[in-house]
């Protein structure tokens, strides 16, 4: 167990270093950093002095180490576009993205699991066929198209919901939330639904497949033979055993929710870090791009690590297998 944790930790550190290296290379070798800072009429001597002061003449490992050290403390320099420290820009926008992602993930879980149970238990009912067809369309439609469709229907044609921004937000220190105001929640509905649709179909299909698998096993047949009511067999015996993979996949999917948030935020002009990244790419705002790169990698590494560890804790079989494999290897 400890060896496993250490191996995963080392792997995570390597991933982070690799991503930091890309970000660093972007930072230092795309264009001339000095040109990005000073104006055109700065003399060569001044440029050289600035170069020396910023440590741009230092050997490569020293510069990279300094970059990593700053990144660990959350310092990525000034944003060219906003003329403010990158960390401030990110902190200001992070709550919007996290709120959207968590609401979408929760929605996907709350709707996807019951749909999966239903389609697993009633394989041939008409409603199941409807769910499965809808889910197939949900997988095939790209996220941005779903967003545009929802805007067209609910914002343009019906005029029920706003189609851009976060509505009114309330600030708690640096954290702003839209969950406590009516406008904030109304503004959240369309983006959250757009973002959750893909995950929801995925969870539904997963729960359905797992349910079908479990319902075929001997212990379910035995439970039925004992005359236990359907409710207990279905939920007490079957559902419980489908949940381990569901937890894992949902955890891992949280990462892709954050990834797809980039698209959703662009469609709905949601002021989160994803939209910030797209704007940074368009404006060649390299410090912001580098920071986003590192931030997203960090999210993913943490999520994967936590899910791996959870899996290890939740599923006792894995522990035995790993231990066995370790002895053989």
């Amino acid at each position: 167990m400890i060896a496993f944790v250490i191996r995963r930790l080392v792997q995570s550190v390597f991933v982070m270093l690799a991503v930091a290296f890309v970000a660093f290379a972007l930072f230092n070798y795309v264009g001339d950093p000095i040109n990005n800072i000073v104006g055109q009429d700065t003399s060569l001597e001044d440029r050289e002095r600035l170069r020396q002061e910023l440590g741009l003449n230092d050997p490569f490992p020293v510069q990279f180490a300094r970059f990593v050290g700053n990144a660990v403390r959350g310092e990525f320099g000034m944003s060219y576009q906003h003329a403010r420290p990158v960390s401030h820009v990110i902190l200001e926008r992070l709550p919007a993205t996290l709120e959207l992602s968590f609401v979408a993930a929760a929605l996907a879980l709350l709707i996807g699991v019951p749909m999966g149970i239903y389609t697993g238990l009633h394989r041939h009912s008409a409603l199941s066929q409807v769910f499965l067809t809808v889910s197939l369309i949900g997988v095939s439609l790209p996220t941005f198209l779903i967003g545009i469709l929802l805007i067209l229907i609910f914002a343009v044609l019906l005029g029920w919901l706003p189609s851009f921004g976060r509505g009114t937000t309330i600030a708690f220190g640096w954290w702003t939330t839209g969950l406590l105001t009516k406008e904030g929640i109304r503004a959240l509905i369309l983006p959250a639904v757009t973002l959750c649709l893909f995950q929801m179909t995925l969870i539904m299909r997963l729960v359905r497949a797992e349910m079908l698998e479990v319902l075929r096993t001997d212990y379910i047949k035995f439970a039925r033979a004992r005359g236990l009511p359907d409710r207990i067999v279905n939920f007490g015996h079957a559902l419980k055993n489908t949940l381990v993979p569901v937890i894992t996949i949902t955890g891992l999917q949280l990462g892709s929710v954050i990834a797809f948030a980039v698209v959703t935020e662009t469609v709905f002009s949601w002021p989160g870090v994803g939209l910030m990244f797209i704007q940074a790419v368009t404006a060649v705002d390299i410090p912001v791009m580098a920071a986003y790169l590192v931030l997203v990698a960090f999210f993913f590494v943490v999520i994967n690590l936590v899910v791996d560890l959870l899996y290890y804790i939740v599923d006792p079989r894995l522990r035995i297998e790993r231990a066995g494999a370790a002895h053989v290897g």
Partner: protein, 321 residues
């Protein structure tokens, strides 16, 4: 030439036992399961129609959307033909510059398909090569390649494509940016999809490597490269085709997403994603057709290719997933 002659010799010898190739095809499980599933036949037809009409775009499109001189602002924002102000000279209406939407969609689908196919082929070449090398040689090469694959697999492909694309766009000198844009998109998508190919090929290569025909080739002193390409490769290609089909739909959607975000192909050569991006600006003023027709085409194409991929997976290899 030796490959061809060997193959010809082999088939010549076996011609006595084997039925003619046409009958073999019609008797095959594949054809049987294809005709059995109506949905598959329909999606094959839909895919074929879109692909053929997209490839023939210069011939069948009523207008040339790249020809700026043929555009007239007087024709701008004409709604589709069945709406009150529409006319059958522009069945799907026109955009803000008077561009015929039907023609734009045909040309756009062409770019989407070409970019999607090219990036899948590139991903396939990369993945198969790395998978073969990793599986055949093993050792530290295997470890490095597969660790890389593991790490990459823990990030969603769309995010990797987005990051590679964004970084490459910024890193390129400005004058190269628009001319190299399509190549950058293809590369970014290919680099985010090679992992599935590499893992599958590595797995089957490990199995094939232990078989006697490979050992025989090795003992007779055939060069490792020749063993990999001539003996192992043909035997590991089956699942690769399935993955390629499934990834084609994904690649087309990824390209559309990148283009929609403004990071994909340049506006001078609009793909379906770019058209949707442009149309999105006019959603609120009521010109829904500019975004919706390219969107519907994209969705239809992706759905049909997805269904084909699903069928091919089940028909060829029920245990792939």
């Amino acid at each position: 030439m030796s490959v061809d002659s060997v193959a010809a010799g082999a088939s010549g010898k076996e011609a006595v036992r084997r039925p003619a190739s046409k009958r073999r095809w019609r008797d095959s499980d594949l054809w049987w399961s294809f005709t059995r599933s109506k949905l598959t036949v329909v999606s094959a037809v839909v895919t074929a129609v879109i692909v053929v009409s997209a490839l023939l775009a210069p011939v069948i499109a009523p207008y040339d959307p790249t020809d700026l001189s043929s555009l007239s602002l007087l024709d701008a924002m004409i709604p589709p033909a069945w709406e009150a102000d529409g006319s059958w000279s522009h069945p799907f209406g026109t955009d803000d510059q008077g561009r015929d939407m039907l023609s734009a969609i045909l040309y756009g689908a062409r770019i989407s398909l070409v970019v999607g196919a090219a990036s899948v082929v590139l991903a396939m070449l990369l993945g198969v090569a790395l998978g073969l090398v990793a599986g055949y040689f093993g050792g530290w090469l295997d470890t490095v390649i597969m660790r890389l694959a593991d790490v990459q697999l823990s990030f969603p492909a769309i995010l990797i494509a987005l990051l590679i694309d964004g970084v490459a766009k910024t890193a390129l000198p400005r004058d190269l940016q628009s001319s190299a844009a399509i190549a950058v998109v293809i590369g970014a998508i290919a680099l985010s999809y090679w992992v599935h190919f590499a893992r599958t090929v590595r797995g089957s290569t490990l199995v094939e490597r232990g078989k006697e025909y490979v050992q025989a080739a090795y003992v007779t002193g055939v060069h490792p490269l020749a063993i990999m390409l001539r003996h192992v490769l043909p035997n590991v290609l089956g699942p690769v085709l399935v993955i390629a089909t499934i990834n084609l739909a994904q690649a087309i959607l990824t390209e559309a997403t990148l283009s929609f975000l403004g990071l994909g192909v340049p506006a001078t050569q609009p793909s379906l994603g770019t058209l949707i991006r442009i149309g999105n600006n006019f959603l609120f003023s009521g010109e829904w057709w500019i975004a919706m027709f390219p969107g519907a085409t994209l969705a239809l194409l992706a759905l049909a290719v997805n269904l084909l991929g699903d069928w091919l997976r089940d028909a060829l290899n029920p245990k792939l997933r």
